[in-house]
Structure formats: structure tokens, C-alpha cells
């Protein structure tokens, strides 16, 4: 056990440093937030990588080496338009603060004649090298109704035009927070409609912390496994357990900037291998190693030459780059989700897992947890996510009946976001009404104890 549990302190510290880096590097994964969340694109930065915005492809080279949180805009140069960093000092956004305005929309006629600038005019401006901001100013100058709008509505108008003619690209750090939010917004079904606050509760309820061994059943494309690995920071293990012969996809783990040190701590193992006694296991385990190696499911953390991975598959936005096209060629560096070594499996059998998280909407919670609870250390917490209440209620009832755990609770988080502006503070008009249910509890000692 000691050989596995012992951390190479130096490399672990380095692992944290890479993951917590605040400046981008060549080969790193970034989340591009285009126009304030209108579009979210995962990219891997390389000199050859591009992103398509509007009708143009833009090289991502200028993004390499910039701090996360940098804002970029489209600029036109001799070789055509390119992405350039917005000077933060010039970002002074004037927020309208007069709240006692008497203007209103009583004189507004919605006849589509307010704007005198035509599409051709705008194209002409563009070809003469006008910047997006200049076009926005021209549109405002040529709008017959702009002057009569309230300052709030002028601001809205400006923002709308800015998004179209002067898009802003924010370079976000791919962390559990941003990754979960991005998927929840664009592809909620791929993460089983797991909202970020629900995910945060799962991590708390399962007491996820460095130097733990966390068992997960993650059929949510790897979001759970990735989130746990992030919290472990290269200390301890996260074991993605699967039923049958094929590990579950851990696609989302690639979106994190995990160092090889952290990737090594993400392993997979079949539930049957975890449950069998030791002698049987060593054979089985060998077999599974062979089986999994040929499968494309195991993933590689980095393929530097790759272009862009977009979240948007059947996109309604005008994004055309290839999606999900990370090359799955094996690479030298260690992979996340490799089969657990016999040694580590033996350690888990001797000591038990520190906790368990289940996010598997297609599997009945009770049928899966009754087999997994014995693998947990005594007094280990667990948390099960499900979109439906009834399977969790039944599961809770059965756990109670069989006296396997205490402190059982089913909770549903409710999250409301607010607009906070001078004299205009109110909850957002649109909200997510549902983030899923969580059954949590603490395993107790059987009669043997």
C-alpha cells in the first residue's frame, strides 16, 4: 500500500502548478466564451488551430501565452482580420446611472425603417478596414430612433450591435465550474442534466479531498471523474467503475488541463473485478488490461497538433469546425482512465474506498449501490445523483430497511441568479428550474463491527 499511497511530492506539486496555471501555453485546453456566453467552444491552443467566428477563421496563435481571463476582439490587418487582445485599461464600460429618466417608448414605430445604413454600406466599410467598433458607432449614428431611446435601451442596442460586428472572445480556464456550465448550457444530456451546483454538492457530500480513494460510477461522459480528479490534484485515486466489459467514456476529462501526474490517478476498473476476491482478480485484471487497450474509450490527455474541439454538434450557431475530432492515437504520456493496476486494486480491497459518487441515470441506484457499499470503508460517505426522484426514494428505503447506512437524505438544490444593477436588481427572467436529486448518506459497520 505504501508504495502506491506515497506521493512523489515534487511531481505532485508540479501537477498542481500545471493545473492551476494562470497563463495559457501551447497545447493547453481553453474554453472560448464568445460574446458573453452566446457561444462556448473548447479549443486546444496551437499555432495552426483556428476558430470560426462569423464568416472568418481566426488563428488561435495570439492566445498562446496570454493570461486566462484575457479578452480578445477582431481586428483587421494587412493579412486580413485577426484576434487581438483588448487593452484592459480601455475597457471602461460606462454603465448608465440615471434612473429618473422620462424617456419611454411611446413614440416608437416598429416599421424596420429606423436604420438607414444598408448591408452593402457595412460591407463597404469593412473592406475599407473599419473596425467593428467603428461600424457599431456608424450604425448608432444612422439610427433614427437611437436618440429617443432610454439610456438602458441605448445600452442594449449598442450591446446587440457589438456582438454582431465587434465580437468579444474571452479566454476561460477550463475548470470543473466552467466545463460543467458550458455543457449544461449547450449539451445538458451529455452530462445527464447535472447542474454545476448539484455537482458541487456531490463533491462535498462525498468528502472529496486529496489523498482519498474515490469510487465513481460515471456515465456522464466523465464530468464526475474529472471533477473528482481536479479536487484530488494528483494525490490519491479516482476509480471509474463500470459494469460489463467496457469502461464508460471519459471524454470530458480531456477538456481539463490535467498534467500526466493527475491523469495517472484516474483509473478504471470493472465492478466485477473490484468485487471478486483477490486470487480470481489477478487473472481477470490481466485480461481486462488487454481488452481495454484496444478500445478507443481510453483517452489521451493531449494531442497538440489537433485543431479545435467544439461542444456544438448540431449547432444553431455558425460554427463549422470539426467536432469531437481529438485524435485518439495513443501517445507516450500517461492516459487518464487506464485500467487500475492489480496493486492498487488490492489496496482498495484491503482498505476500502474513502467514498462513492454515482451518476448513472440509466442504472437503478439500488441495484448498483448494494454491490458497491461493501467496497467502502466503514463510515465512508456516499452520494448518488439522479434526475428522477422515485428510484432514489426506493433506494433510500431499501438502504434503511437493510440498515446499511445512516444520515440518509434526499436533497434537491435550487439555484437562482440575480441581475444586480443600480435600481434594477431582480432575479433573472430565465432560470434552470431543475438540477436533479441527490441521495446521500454514511455507510455503517455491519454486525461484524
Amino acid at each position: 500500500m505504501s508504495a502506491i499511497a506515497r506521493d512523489d511530492a515534487a511531481s505532485a506539486a508540479e501537477a498542481v502548478a500545471v493545473h492551476n496555471a494562470r497563463v495559457t501555453w501551447e497545447g493547453c485546453s481553453v474554453l472560448l466564451d464568445i460574446n458573453d456566453g452566446d457561444r462556448l467552444v473548447f479549443c486546444r491552443l496551437s499555432p495552426a488551430a483556428t476558430v470560426k467566428i462569423g464568416n472568418n477563421n481566426y488563428s488561435l496563435r495570439p492566445l498562446i501565452g496570454c493570461p486566462f481571463g484575457s479578452l480578445f476582439q477582431v481586428d483587421s490587418g494587412a493579412d486580413g482580420p485577426f484576434l487581438s487582445r483588448v487593452d484592459p485599461s480601455s475597457q471602461g464600460k460606462e454603465v448608465p446611472d440615471s434612473i429618473d429618466e422620462s424617456k419611454d417608448n411611446r413614440a416608437l414605430v416598429d416599421n424596420n425603417k429606423a436604420q438607414t445604413l444598408t448591408g452593402e454600406d457595412i460591407n463597404a466599410m469593412r473592406s475599407q478596414g473599419a473596425t467593428g467598433d467603428e461600424i457599431v458607432e456608424a450604425l448608432i449614428a444612422n439610427s433614427a430612433t437611437f436618440e429617443n431611446k432610454t439610456s438602458f435601451s441605448q445600452e442594449k442596442y449598442r450591446l446587440k450591435k457589438q456582438k454582431k460586428y465587434a465580437p468579444k472572445i474571452l479566454v476561460r480556464r477550463p475548470f470543473t465550474r466552467s466545463i460543467c456550465e458550458a455543457y449544461f448550457k449547450k449539451y445538458p444530456h451529455r452530462i445527464g442534466f447535472l447542474r454545476v451546483d448539484t455537482l458541487s454538492l456531490l463533491l462535498s457530500m462525498a468528502n472529496v479531498t486529496a489523498n482519498s480513494n474515490i469510487l465513481v460510477v460515471d456515465t456522464l461522459s466523465g464530468i464526475l471523474t474529472g471533477a473528482v480528479a481536479e479536487r484530488l490534484g494528483g494525490h490519491g485515486h479516482v476509480c471509474s467503475a463500470y459494469m460489463g466489459g467496457t469502461p464508460y467514456s471519459l471524454d470530458i476529462v480531456r477538456m481539463f488541463n490535467f498534467s500526466s501526474e493527475i491523469c495517472k490517478r484516474i483509473v478504471s476498473c470493472s465492478i466485477s473485478d473490484l468485487s471478486t476476491t483477490d486470487t480470481a482478480n489477478s487473472e481477470n485484471n490481466g485480461k481486462h488490461v488487454a481488452a481495454t487497450e484496444s478500445q478507443p474509450m481510453t483517452l489521451q490527455p493531449s494531442d497538440m497538433e489537433d485543431v479545435t474541439v467544439s461542444l456544438e454538434k448540431e449547432t444553431s450557431y455558425n460554427l463549422t469546425e470539426t467536432n469531437g475530432s481529438f485524435n485518439l492515437k495513443p501517445c507516450k504520456s500517461s492516459k487518464a482512465g487506464e485500467p487500475a493496476s492489480a496493486e492498487v486494486v488490492r489496496m482498495w480491497k484491503e482498505s476500502g474506498f474513502s467514498s462513492l459518487i454515482i451518476g448513472a441515470p440509466d442504472i437503478d441506484p439500488w441495484s448498483i449501490i448494494k454491490g458497491l457499499l461493501p467496497l467502502l470503508s466503514h463510515s465512508a460517505p456516499f452520494a448518488i445523483y439522479h434526475q428522477y426522484l422515485q428510484p432514489l426514494a426506493t433506494c433510500m428505503h431499501n438502504i434503511q430497511q437493510e440498515k446499511l447506512a445512516i444520515g440518509l437524505q434526499i436533497n434537491e438544490p435550487w439555484l437562482r441568479e440575480f441581475q444586480v444593477l443600480p435600481a434594477r436588481t431582480h432575479p433573472h427572467m430565465q432560470m434552470s428550474a431543475f438540477g436533479g436529486y441527490i441521495l446521500s448518506g454514511t455507510k455503517i459497520c455491519g454486525s461484524a463491527g
Partner: protein, 305 residues
Amino acid sequence: MLPTDETKQLSFNRRIAEGDLVIVYERHDTMKAVKVIAGSVLQNRFGVYKHSEWIGKPFGSKALSNKGRFIYLLAPTPELWTLVLNHRTQILYIADISLVVMYLELVPGCVVLESGTGSGSLSTSLARAVAPSGHVYTFDFHEERAASAREDFEKTGLSNLVTVGVRDIQGEGFPDEFIGLADSVFLDLPQPWLAIPSAEKMLKQDGVLCSFSPCIEQVQRSCEVLRSSFTDIRTFEILLRSYDVREVNIKDSNEDGLVVSGSRKRRQFSQEDAEENSGHQVLARPSPEARGHTGYLTFARLKCL
């Protein structure tokens, strides 16, 4: 509380030992933190429990009182600690805590600044997130409260991860030694806007600040100050709805004779029948009482230079 010490890690072989902190569980709403000392006893409405009988048992075991009533002995976690700690102030609970840790983007190795310390409920979870190599520096202007918090971190084994300072952060700001070193800052102060300019200096670029305030007026003023150097300013309210699960007997109207008016004989038969076929169902409904408001969480990201 945290598995930094290998010998204290939870495992099948881990036994309760002298000096361990255990969470004594009577019911889901009746728990207590107890330090195990041979020769000491715990007394509650179920009788007297000898600590000496606990030593050598695994965590998660039952312990019997002199009257034969049992409790469970659980290993402490930040979640359980939040339920048992001494309230010196209003504390943060699991829903707010979880969202704070997630949105502050805490990972092992991070440095996080907090003020006020209060009862240390959040600090415990912050420490768990940044362990083993990160650190939580937490400040409270109340000397006794800081001292009690320090004792608590000693008790929970977190004192190597949490440093408690006595300082009026609203008045003096965070100490200069942390300038540019904090990955995240958390404020739970009556006038957070006074501390924001200092928090801004402490944060690394793109670092995240969170301010927790019960009142919307506080949020309003904080956001006005945040707008000058922060971006991505978002305010949330998070609540938990918990569910009661029961096995309920719901009768079928056709079988209990209420609708089908039949003979007495028929009715008796139906009742037996209904029980056998079990109108018993496991059902869930929201608990009738819940916390309606804790506070607003405002997150903001330091603008990049």
C-alpha cells in the same frame, strides 16, 4: 479529519483510538462531536456510554449505553462538523459552502483568504479543498472568536492548513504580505464593499472573489464597487429542498368498499386483499419545513491586466 495523515486514513482496518474526534450520531438531527478519552463517559438521554468501550472499534460502529440503547460513532467530515460545531455566529451550510468552493475554483495547493472566520464552518471546507499543499488564511476582528476557531482547527486536525489572524479586514484590509498571492478571497462581512479594494490587491490575475451577504442592499453596494476592477460579476441564491421518504399505504378505491358498495363480507375480503396486494408504496414528498434564505453569494473575477 482529513486523510493527510496516512495512519488516520479511513480504512477497513482503522480503529477508533484515544484522542480521536468522533461524531456521535443519535439521529440525523442529533449529533455531537466528542474527543475520545479513556476513562471519560458520554451521557445523553439514552444513558451512559464509556469511551473505553469505543476504543478499538471501527468508525461507523454502534456503541451501547448502560441501558442498552445505541448510538453510532462516525468519522468526522466537514459536512458533519458543520452540523455539530458550536455556533458563535451565524454559519454557512452545505449548499452555500459547496457552491463557494466550486466557484472559487479551489484545488489542492491554492491559497485562499477569508474574513470573517466566524465559527469556522466554511474554513473547514476551504481547508479540505486546498489540502495538502495549499493554505487558508482566515481573519476575524473578534479576539475570543479567533481563539475559539483556532482551538477548533486544532481539534479537527486542520491547524496545519488554516491560520487564524485577528484583524479588522473592513478597516485595515488584508495584510500586505499576501499581495498578489491569493487564488481566491472570501468575504462574509457586514460592509464587504469596504474590503473589496484590499481583496483586489491580494488576488492573482483572474482570481475569484466571493462575498456572502444576507441582505440585497449589501449586494447592491458591493457590486457597485466590484464593477471597477472585476468582471464576470454574478449573484446567486442557493437553497436545498429535502425530501421525506415513507412507505405509505394508499388504498385502491375499488378494493376498500368505499366506491363499490357491496356486502360486509365483500368489504372484509377486500381489505385483506388490499393488504396482501400491498397498497404499500415508497413515496417521497418535500419536507414541509425548510430554510427559506441564507444569503446572497456574489462572485467576481479580477480583470486581467
